[in-house]
């Protein structure tokens, strides 16, 4: 008398997951509604820390949406069969994370009701305006790419579409980095290293998110990932984490070299309270050292270790973005170099920021959207990787 067949059980878990994701999205939407009614006063953001937790979540999702396409680029552009089998899943993840990130950014606007204004009034000197084209173009390019992969008749077009996505994601992440690079007077930002740094970070974070989702799908289907594929993918992820760390190190070391920047670096790396703590513990220890140990230590590097490493890399990503976005604004603008400055508007003072529940829920809501699209997508369409028998 077995009432609960494994299939029915799985069905229930699927619906429970969709319901949980839906609840998170609803909580995010409710937060956005409250922010719309009461204004941004209910968030931790203020006139000094103008971008807060929603932007940490949104930028993570947007950067990672581009990075997760590594897998498809390596498959389509560089012709690696192990990666090609995973390209549709990478495409789906990219679209879902982009949708989540953009929803957060849109709902955090002071006037989200004017999103139509943003679509009809373009200031072409603004990198934000360029990004509106880049993000919508990314949706279109990835959708086209998915179509060429999933529709038999379109297969011959899959390589050029993959190439288009490959180029587009570079431009897109460059555009995201430029949002910060173009800020002429912010000591944390105004540097041309940010776009390449964002691109390399996107590689590492995209691989980590891909690993997490892939592990979940394999676990769900009770399949085992080919150890050969697993090894290649985790090694690549490890190398990308090191590359991203290299860029972050170069960014801070060049800053430390400039006398006018040392005070800022001292703040971010040593005496800035929560920011150095999050940087060293959250990013360096949890986001780099531990994952690298889990990936490359000869006794480790198995399925579970790779999953833990991937989760830690995501934690490190959030830590780095928190320090970069919020710590970067908390340090006061240098309006009068050489002077000690005080005023009623926080001149010369470290900005205070305490994330509030509504803005965290809004950010989580964006993650919820990405989760829902991915979960439903994998269930109703054929996105799960199909292993191609090993040739070597």
């Amino acid at each position: 008398m077995v009432n609960h067949s494994p299939l029915r059980f799985k069905n229930r878990i699927f619906y429970a997951m969709v319901a949980a994701g839906g609840l998170v999205v609803l909580a995010g939407l409710y937060s956005a509604h409250m922010m719309e009614v009461y204004g941004h006063i209910i968030t931790g953001m203020n006139n000094q820390i103008v971008w807060g937790m929603p932007h940490v979540f949104a930028i993570f999702l947007i950067i990672t949406a581009s990075g997760v396409l590594n897998v498809s680029s390596i498959g389509s552009v560089f012709n690696k069969p192990a990666y090609k089998a995973r390209a549709p899943l990478a495409g789906l993840l990219s679209i879902s994370m982009l949708a989540g990130g953009l929803t957060i950014l849109m709902l955090d606007l002071g006037r989200p009701d004017r999103v139509i204004v943003a679509m009809t009034h373009f200031n072409l000197t603004s990198v934000f305006a360029w990004n509106i084209f880049l993000y919508s173009g990314m949706f279109a390019a990835v959708a086209l790419y998915l179509w060429t992969m999933m529709e038999k008749r379109m297969k011959p077009w899959s390589k050029p579409a993959g190439l288009l996505v490959f180029v587009w994601r570079f431009v897109l992440t460059t555009g995201t980095g430029l949002i910060f690079s173009f800020l002429v007077a912010r000591q944390a930002y105004e540097t041309a290293i940010l776009p390449p740094m964002f691109i390399v970070m996107s590689f590492a974070w995209g691989m980590a998110v891909f690993h997490i989702v892939q592990s979940a799908i394999y676990e769900w289907n009770e399949k085992l990932l080919d150890p050969h594929v697993q090894k290649r993918m985790k090694n690549l992820m490890g190398i990308l984490v090191i590359a991203a760390l290299y860029f972050v190190a170069a960014y801070h070391l060049t800053n430390l070299y400039f006398a006018r920047q040392t005070e800022f670096e001292r703040f971010i790396l040593f005496n800035g309270g929560v920011y150095p703590l999050v940087f060293w513990v959250g990013y360096i220890l949890f986001g780099n050292l531990l994952p690298l140990l889990l990936i490359f230590h000869p006794a480790l590097g198995k399925t579970k270790c790779v999953l833990y490493a991937s989760s830690l890399i995501v934690l490190g990503a959030f830590s780095l973005l928190y320090v970069f976005i919020i710590g970067g604004q908390a340090f006061p603008l240098s309006i009068f170099p050489g002077y000690e400055v005080t005023s009623s508007f926080g001149d010369g003072a470290i900005g205070h920021y305490r994330p509030s529940l509504p803005e965290i829920l809004l950010g989580m809501g964006g993650v919820g959207i990405a989760f829902l699209i991915t979960t439903i997508g994998v269930r109703v369409l054929d996105f799960a990787p199909h292993e191609i028998p090993k040739s070597s």
Binding site: G39, N46, G110, F182, D347
Partner: protein, 237 residues
């Protein structure tokens, strides 16, 4: 017959008079509300020269700005401050000074460059403004401004001034009291300064008082290294 004519004439006279009395205030108010009807000219560039030598323990400019523009005057990090008094101390010589700080009305304003919708704009006469109807509240201009001149409206507003449109969820900053300039008046801060330390005028007119003074005294643009060519200049920094 002539009596009827007389009555008709009287009626017409009264009607015309009544109509004039009814319409005139409206016309007058329309003129007042719209100020000058000719477009702003690029031949003018409004600016200010602020003499820090006489700027001391006083915040009359700040109060006048708040009153003119209907700001609450609150000082929390979420309140709007279009103008603020900044106290400076030279770290090496310990010399102290104070000055009013507001939107510097740059010729090359970074806020205008980064605004995605074009809501941040520079008028032909050099005044940098925010179009409250197309600002979407993304705050990118606040990130870009080197002078921390902009505020975001964090809460619903009440009792606004009809001449100074503001709104929750959009960004705002010093307008150089554009509503006063268009009526031929000075910005409220310049008028309120008891020491006449804020000299307002047309930077493009060689014989304006401000231009003459700029030719004779040493003046500074704040963060001149950024090359933004600010409309607000300071003496004594």
């Amino acid at each position: 017959m002539s009596d009827t004519n007389e009555q008709r004439r009287q009626f017409l006279k009264t009607s015309v008079g009544a109509a004039a009395v009814a319409i005139a205030p409206g016309m007058l108010m329309f003129d007042m509300a719209h100020g000058k009807t000719e477009p702003v000219s690029g031949k003018v560039r409004w600016g200010m020269l602020i003499d820090t030598a006489n700027c001391a323990d006083c915040d009359k400019c700040v109060k006048a700005c708040n009153k003119e523009n209907g700001l609450s005057g609150g000082l929390s990090p979420t309140d709007s401050q279009w103008i603020r008094k900044v106290e400076l101390k030279d770290m090496r010589t310990e010399r102290t000074l104070a000055l009013p700080m507001m939107c510097q009305h740059c010729e090359e304003p970074p806020c205008v460059d980064v605004c995605p919708t074009g809501a941040s704009f520079k008028r032909a006469d050099g005044i940098v403004l925010v179009d409250k109807h197309i600002c979407i509240g993304c705050r990118y201009c606040m990130m870009a401004c080197p002078y921390k001149a902009r505020s975001f409206v964090h809460e619903p507003l009440h009792d606004q001034k009809p001449d100074v449109p503001r709104g929750k969820g959009v960004v705002e900053s010093c307008t150089m009291c554009v509503q006063r300039i268009d009526k031929g008046l000075q910005p409220a801060c310049a008028e309120a300064c008891p020491n006449k330390s804020i000299l307002f005028g047309n930077l493009n007119a060689p014989d304006s008082e401000i231009s003459k003074k700029l030719r004779t005294v040493a003046s500074t643009q704040i963060r001149a290294d950024l090359g933004l060519n600010t409309g607000i200049r300071y003496e004594g920094i």
